[in-house]
Symmetry: C2
Subunit: 585 residues, 2 copies
Amino acid sequence: KFFSIKCSPNVHYKITPQARDRNADSYPLTPNAVLIVTMDAVSKTANDSKVPAISLDVDADRDGIVEKNNPNKGSWKWGPNGHGAILLVNCDSETTNKKTLDSEVEEIHLQDMSKMILRTNGPAELPEGYKLTMHISQTTSENVRVFRPRTNLIKLDRMPYLGGKTELEFFVEGLRFPDKDFDGLITINLSLLEPCGKGFPETPVFTDKVVFHISPWIMTPNTLKPVEVYVCSTDDNHSFLKSIRNLVEKCGYKLKICYEYMNRGDRWMQDELEFGYIDSPHHQFPVVLDSPRDGDLQDFPYESILGPDFGYVTRHALNEEVSSLDSFGNLEVSPPVTVNGKSYPLGRIIIGVAFPTATSGRNMTQVVQDFLWAQKVQAPIALYSDWLVVGHVDEFMTFVPAPDRKKFRLLLASPDAGYKVFKSLQNNGHGNAEMFPGLPEAISVNEILSDKKLQAGNRYVQNCIDWNRDVLKKELGLDDEDIIDLPILFQVLEEKKGARAVAYYPDMVNMIVLGDQLGIPKPFGPKVNGRCALETEVRSLLEPLGLKCTFIDDFAPYHKLLGEVHCGSNVLREASPFKWWNLEL
Amino acid sequence: KFFSIKCSPNVHYKITPQARDRNADSYPLTPNAVLIVTMDAVSKTANDSKVPAISLDVDADRDGIVEKNNPNKGSWKWGPNGHGAILLVNCDSETTNKKTLDSEVEEIHLQDMSKMILRTNGPAELPEGYKLTMHISQTTSENVRVFRPRTNLIKLDRMPYLGGKTELEFFVEGLRFPDKDFDGLITINLSLLEPCGKGFPETPVFTDKVVFHISPWIMTPNTLKPVEVYVCSTDDNHSFLKSIRNLVEKCGYKLKICYEYMNRGDRWMQDELEFGYIDSPHHQFPVVLDSPRDGDLQDFPYESILGPDFGYVTRHALNEEVSSLDSFGNLEVSPPVTVNGKSYPLGRIIIGVAFPTATSGRNMTQVVQDFLWAQKVQAPIALYSDWLVVGHVDEFMTFVPAPDRKKFRLLLASPDAGYKVFKSLQNNGHGNAEMFPGLPEAISVNEILSDKKLQAGNRYVQNCIDWNRDVLKKELGLDDEDIIDLPILFQVLEEKKGARAVAYYPDMVNMIVLGDQLGIPKPFGPKVNGRCALETEVRSLLEPLGLKCTFIDDFAPYHKLLGEVHCGSNVLREASPFKWWNLEL
């Protein structure tokens, strides 16, 4: 009716259900009594039918150090109180001979991988027939590889067991970014298998599990500090290049020039690529997203940007024609915003698409849209940009840093603001002043204001921009005070597929933003007292924010080809100090 | 240098930047002064160049009533403080003549749809050339339809405008459940388009946006109240059917019998289908998930279950062979649990798969796994069930309600507990008592205990179950005290593809759970004082929890065909009182 228990040191027991009439020496023997025996120390020999202590460990608390047996290592949770380890796609190229993505070769470049430690504590050898195996699902195996230092890619189904108290280091490499069909989560299991005698399969006696989340690809808004400015050298842009060089040198950033042998005349550095980065507690590096646009600059991102600690990713359109909306002048990102109480500390991605009521229209290719949405941490906003001939959002909007309010302003192209300038010139007796002074296109203020067709076109353009303004206000939580209207006129061209707009004079909103220094397309506006009235107006709008305006002549080599300063440049920026895994999704 | 403003009643203005030297009558005129004029009332006539007030409204606060212009109607947030409207897949069949899913016909069955109201307030007519359009993306249009009462499916690109203060009712119908490639979110936009004169496209002057989330398909654990029990009638299960009928009638639930003309001898009611439900603030109904198994019962879910307010959904395997693991005896759901502080108020789905270290093995087909994972609200757990010949999780586990602790117990089949009973019989002088008394299979306790092969097989089986026990403890946050081991022996058969297990005597864990009434396979154990020792043991384990055990003879028509009571029945249960949209994901 009663039983008693004695244990040697390091052995503990627990009896359930808890005996009620317990005394010092014995317990009542009930039908359902369960005695659970545990021990403090692991086995010293292989034959005492005990198993070693085993733990597969990762940096689940995201401090850059692999801790011991974190209770949350087997699941992922977003946020500052979250948990779960982080993995980088090994999309840079450390190879010195032939250039390849590290993730495509069987070489081992540990610095980009996440450390994983197999901790065992037990007898010198596992009992006869026992073995350790690591396993990942079929789907997961396409997204991840596991390495051992010096032994390269490992066979997962036969893990070494070294005996005693040992720590075996592994390195885990991400192969694929999150996408429509992949949520970015990777699970790795480790099991100790027990032999069950002849005729029976081995059975797992213990399984440990760790979870990684692949770092999303993250874009950098204009408010982040520049590192390097990219621009093309062509046979006709010498003085433009000089202006850019002066501006960049004044600011103290690096300048990277893509020469003609590589760009083959394709000067649209903004359109072929977008800079972003990937981030983990142990490592971070920039990653260029190569556009499916594929103009003559198409080899530049892979050949000239991909390298050690500079990653590369691309998406190819599937059974779809690539349109002008696939150029990355049509892919921007806002500074950090808070909208109705929901915060976006990494900002929100902005792309341009066809207005959805239209029965036809150009669009950004679906694979790129899917990729952008799948990154999750910069929830995209789709604007309406198909009303433009070129169709890029950077033709009517940009962001500049500001010292007050939300720490930035949204700049919008505004025909209304443009007409306000021209009317004010006329009213002040400058009706005969010439737009495009000294250029073959020269035309007087009076002539511009009497052009009814130009007016009708700009009313249409203002409508299109106003709609985007409403969407941006709503989706970024902006007030009218957060927006500055730049005086820019457009003209509407009759195309086969309907009327679409281009900038009438250099589109000042299409600027390069380098800290508080702005490189703005020189508008060639009418002169008043020797000064361009449009430049004066723009200075009066931006200089009160502490911004410095440099007007750059891009007329012949860019504006006439339907692009401007922003289209013709690109800026690699520092990563945000905000860590993406601290987002509350 | 100064200006002043006068407004008629109902007109308001705001000046930015806020004038500093303001006095009663005038404001300083600064270069960047912006004057914003708003009005209280809408236009009364079409020609005053104002537009009407427009709002597309849904039940974004989830109280069953469409409110007015909810500021959060354009986004989705999980949780009790969340927002966003809810949509049901119209997967039941209200048609009276030919049976079809409502979502596949152009008839209108409003009760299953979500109401959406277009509120306008303005002049009797829109100004010339203006129009209202509703638009959804190409992808979304495959997932949703919009109806107007009496006019059936509507043309989205030309919305009626009725003038004055009007409310136009629409009904939105979901067409597809969340899946791997569809997150369940639906966005509907409404725009007012303005004509821009000849040669220009119309431009949107105002766009409103609403978001719906499609209800996931939700499973019902054993702890929810039964509504109706489903069972097959075959030419050999008369007395089994009678036992089930007695039990169900005693409990006061409904019984639905599937007769032979429909089941064609396929008695595995558990395997062909799984009951679940979909839920919204305005409506809720059960939905049967039809397995890709497709035995002779394959027409039953569509022909006999689908009906008014009883939905139907299925998934077909793509280029994959369907295996026994696709039967829904291999698909269960836990009661509500909390694991490491994370709560699963709707429980967690449980399926069985091949153990992933195995180089080969059967699995649940990927399309069904994708569907289950995509529902999100009952995060699935994959157990190892391929060690069984039939390979279903219901062969070694079930859940029963309990008054204490987590309000349930996990019951596990346990060869160790089985051997404990038989050894205790032997020790108490009942070694000659017969298992299967009176049946051709009769065998003594001593004989069973001396069968080394049986013992080796059960050691193997115990290993397999113990591994699952560890996973269940971890993933459901269970303690040993939450688990009850039922005494069940297995035998391992040598099959072409290796050794796999079946229950040696009726597998008592494969029971039907109807509130506190359990219908348990009668084990035909050795008799002691005229009572079956196995039944006595199981009663002693379960009755203290307030559970009532009825042992049902399923030996010939089920056990001998490798199934038991649970495999041969199914239970439609009430929906959980917990609303899925209140989950914090």
